[in-house]
């Protein structure tokens, strides 16, 4: 039971997909203009990720390793088409908003990444927990980023006005560059929080990658 909880909860903080693993950024940046869109996209990803993990895990012993990637993609693609059809039938306005990004869930690296790294090696129960956890983490991150951008970009949250009257929206926030800036700020905040937590525990702070000339070699500056 405790391992099951561990697999589930790691997606909620420790391996939070967009902010910790920094994976699957395409929809994160593209569809988070509003909290509604972020949540809708997140729900679609929860559905696809969980079921793809379940099917991959169920079939893991009969899928030959040489064609495993093809099999994973077929499974993910079928689930995505399911979501697309269901969304068209029951949430058409959301479908119009998300547009091309629903079919693009197929190539979201989280789906294939979890199938390859986790579901193909673990039991169905564990894979379900893993998919659900990471999916929920992804949905929460998207909703959070969407809420942030919607609040400052439109002055609304889930379509309801939340800012004072006379508030002038920062249109920048709902444009593409605003997505990058927001994501950067959230990542910075996450890193600051991690280092603060480590400080409380008495551990040394994690530093970012050190860029010296050894890592690059583009110019001929002599190495220090």
């Amino acid at each position: 039971m405790s391992t099951l909880w561990k697999e589930f909860s790691k997606g909620l903080w420790r391996d939070l997909p967009p902010f910790r693993l920094v994976l699957g950024l395409c929809p994160v940046l593209a569809v988070t203009k509003t909290a509604d869109n972020g949540l809708g996209m997140g729900l679609a990803v929860i559905f696809v990720l969980t079921l793809s993990n379940v099917f991959v895990s169920l079939l893991r012993n009969i899928i030959p390793s040489k064609v495993r990637i093809a099999c994973f993609i077929v499974i993910a693609a079928s689930l995505v088409v399911c979501v697309e059809l269901l969304m068209q039938a029951f949430a058409y306005p959301l479908y119009q908003q998300l547009g091309i990004f629903v079919p693009l869930i197929v190539v979201n690296c989280i789906i294939l990444g979890r199938a390859e790294a986790f579901a193909s090696k673990n039991t169905v129960l564990m894979s379900t927990a893993d998919g659900l956890g990471l999916g929920i983490g992804f949905a929460l991150s998207l909703t959070f980023l969407g809420a942030l951008r919607e609040t400052f970009g439109y002055g609304t949250l889930f379509g309801k006005s939340v800012m004072w009257s006379g508030f002038e929206p920062f249109t920048f926030m709902i444009e593409a560059p605003g997505a990058f800036v927001c994501l950067g700020l959230v990542l910075a905040a996450m890193n600051a929080l991690t280092n603060w937590q480590r400080g409380v525990k008495g551990l040394e702070a994690v530093e970012g990658p050190k860029h010296d000339c050894k890592a690059c070699g583009m110019c001929n500056t002599p190495l220090k």
């Binding site: 064609v67 029951f90 306005p93």
Partner: protein
């Protein structure tokens, strides 16, 4: 050899199962998807044309074939149970691809018909230039227009083109004329389909 057969077999089985599942789901949702599509893509255009009606044109739609046997989805507009107009979609050539125009016809009981108005359903026109054909200034010229001589002023008619968007305006007028031609072919079938 065994491994190769196994690879082919497993992949074919998975693809087959996926194809079967998707076909089933597609069948099951097809009708609802069509209705949603019509409500959200064509519905707004219909509302622009017929403001004073009390039925749901999307729900009451019917397919009617024209003289060439091509089927059109026709939307009836009713007020107090009486048929006041019909509308259907027609296409013209816009600046950025096909221009979808919903053309409404007011069905007059005396036997004389006229345009009830137009609404844009799909387009890829230049934002701020061609897209101005969706504005009232252009659209309202079609309201209560007789069914003949629909043409731009440059072509001897009385429709003023949107300045700077001659191609989009021409496309819209062509779509309306195409719809009028279709309407004349199917108008005899309308009473039997929708009553009067």
């Amino acid at each position: 050899m065994m491994e190769m057969i196994r690879m082919v077999l497993v992949l074919s089985l998975i693809c087959g199962a996926s194809g079967f599942t998707l076909a089933t789901i597609r069948d099951a949702t097809a009708q609802r998807v069509e209705e949603q599509e019509l409500t959200y893509v064509q519905g707004p255009a219909l509302n622009q044309i017929f403001s004073d009606i009390d039925n749901n044109p999307v729900k009451d739609r019917a397919r009617i074939a024209d003289a060439q046997g091509q089927e059109h989805i026709v939307f009836p507009a009713r007020k107090d149970g009486k048929l006041v107009g019909v509308a259907f979609q027609s296409f013209g050539k816009g600046f950025g691809g096909d221009l979808g125009i919903m053309v409404g016809f007011a069905v007059d009981q005396g036997g004389k018909n006229e345009l009830a108005g137009i609404g844009v359903t799909t387009m890829k026109e230049t934002p701020g230039v061609g897209t101005r054909i969706t504005e009232g200034d252009f659209r309202n010229q079609f309201v209560s227009h007789p069914l003949d001589d629909v043409a731009l002023k440059s072509g001897g008619g009385d429709i003023a083109a949107v300045s700077g968007a001659t191609v989009s305006s021409t496309g819209a007028v062509a779509a309306v004329n195409h719809a009028i031609k279709t309407f004349n072919e199917i108008k005899d079938k309308i009473p039997s389909e929708f009553g009067s």
